[in-house]
Symmetry: C2
Subunit: 286 residues, 2 copies
């Protein structure tokens, strides 16, 4: 099976290298061709346009920044939609809204018959490098089954969640939990400090218990001691919580806890800290 | 060193048995003496009153239900406060408010000179049985150091958090995180269901990622599939979140996310579901 990979950025490059290491034949395309060098050196072949890559591949994997980039690469000039698509599959690793995903999938099917699987990931660059990404699939069962053995090159936890868009909706479920955990971690840290507790000892004291989680262990120390490099931007969480709330609102579902968390991150943004590490949310409580 | 254990209930009995298994000499007291049978069969000696137990022990360990029970056993008729207390230590495993704890500690010190360490636990009956409890200590450093090797009989993660009351405040930090995680798990489950996602696959899909936690893995399946036996009562979480908010309010610290979570659990109580498993919170979103 011939693979194509579009978008060899911080995530896409290590994912592509893992496909190559498994012996897959991979055609690659990137907006900035300079970023192809590492993949070409390991045996990938460069395609001049997304359409040319789609001609040369049976399964396309795409790791782009956002919905705008996806739309341009799929439907723009020399886009994937202009290549023959029958019997072919496009796997989209971007995190974009479920309704945008469903619209893209329908538009591509109408254009050239290509199938769509949404496959947002969780686990970051480290997960892409060591092949431990969680991948949440949305698409027809047969299409997801076809993608799965390929995705095992970089994903250790691959789960089909439902039809097209269900992967994206699952990622939004993931994100409201993460954002809320960070917000309540800030409240717990400030409560501890206010009550005369050694807040620096909280991660150790709560380790392994019901209050423990990766966000808690990651961000509680940053909230207590500060940080040098941001691990993420607070506004990326705000964007995801906004998308989750839009999805819920469209279905008439109120999510009051997520709404309150959204207000905290929005306030952080208003205060000019949107680009800061999410740990900055603790400053709202001073 | 002579130990005394008061309160051999669902938690206290397995804790006492682990002390006996380590070879400690343990005097025991319980309101209902019938519950002493197992401990007596393993070599514990029964004391007729808390005061008599305090006479016969150097370090007292107490695992009672709530502040009212603690007050009665310490300061009531034949209570611990009526025994000589100089050079002795009382370790309180109950979860009660930090200010009540500080008042009890001061009152006991004035009555007979006995030292107080608050030592609320996390990990439930299973943790008490297998010796994996997390124990959060509040008290003078020397008193906590004296308690630690004893507590290692049933605690695998024992952390001093500060002076008397700091253990209790830490437990409240733990509880606002647990209650919030359960509430946002309900919102994520309902968002998934509303968006056409297979919510039953959420625990597997998010396992090991940043949205994962023990409450998520415990309660998401109950929210999707229902439950037979309650693991806990929703109102116990409400009580703890209330105590945390009272502590924060007294210090002028607003905790808006925890406040919103409190409103969810209070609404559940108003609807007559306070004694239900916390998973019942998902019903608020239907």
């Amino acid at each position: 099976m011939r693979l194509g990979f579009l978008g060899l950025g911080r995530m896409g490059l290590p994912m592509t290298l893992r496909l190559l290491a498994r012996g897959h034949a991979v055609a690659v395309w990137n907006r900035d061709p300079a970023k192809l060098a590492d993949a070409l050196a390991r045996g990938a072949r460069a395609a001049p346009t997304p359409a040319a890559l789609a001609e040369a591949a049976d399964v396309l994997l795409m790791c782009l920044l956002d919905a705008r980039a996806v739309e341009e690469v799929v439907f723009g000039a020399h886009g994937i939609a202009f290549a023959p698509g029958d019997g072919k599959l496009l796997v989209d690793h971007a995190s974009i809204a479920p309704d945008a995903t469903r619209a893209f999938a329908a538009r591509l099917a109408a254009a050239n018959g290509m199938q769509w699987v949404d496959a947002p990931v969780s686990g970051g660059v480290a997960g892409a490098r060591d092949g431990s990404l969680a991948i949440m699939l949305g698409g027809e069962a047969a299409a997801c089954a076809r993608a799965r053995p390929i995705l095992e090159a970089y994903g250790s936890n691959i789960t089909r969640m439902g039809p097209v868009g269900a992967g994206q909706a699952t990622k939004l479920c993931n994100q409201i939990i993460v954002a809320t955990t960070i917000a309540i971690t800030a409240e717990a840290v400030r409560l501890a400090q206010t009550a005369g507790v050694d807040a620096g000892a909280l991660p150790r004291a709560l380790a392994g218990g019901f209050a423990d989680s990766r966000p808690f262990q990651t961000w509680a120390p940053r909230m207590v001691h500060g940080w040098d490099e941001p691990l993420a931007a607070a506004n990326l969480l705000l964007k995801d919580v906004d998308a989750a709330l839009a999805l819920a609102r469209a279905a008439g579902l109120p999510l009051p806890v997520a709404e309150e968390v959204r207000r905290r991150f929005a306030l952080l943004d208003v205060r000019g800290e949107g680009a800061s590490d999410p740990a900055a949310i603790v400053k709202l409580y001073s």
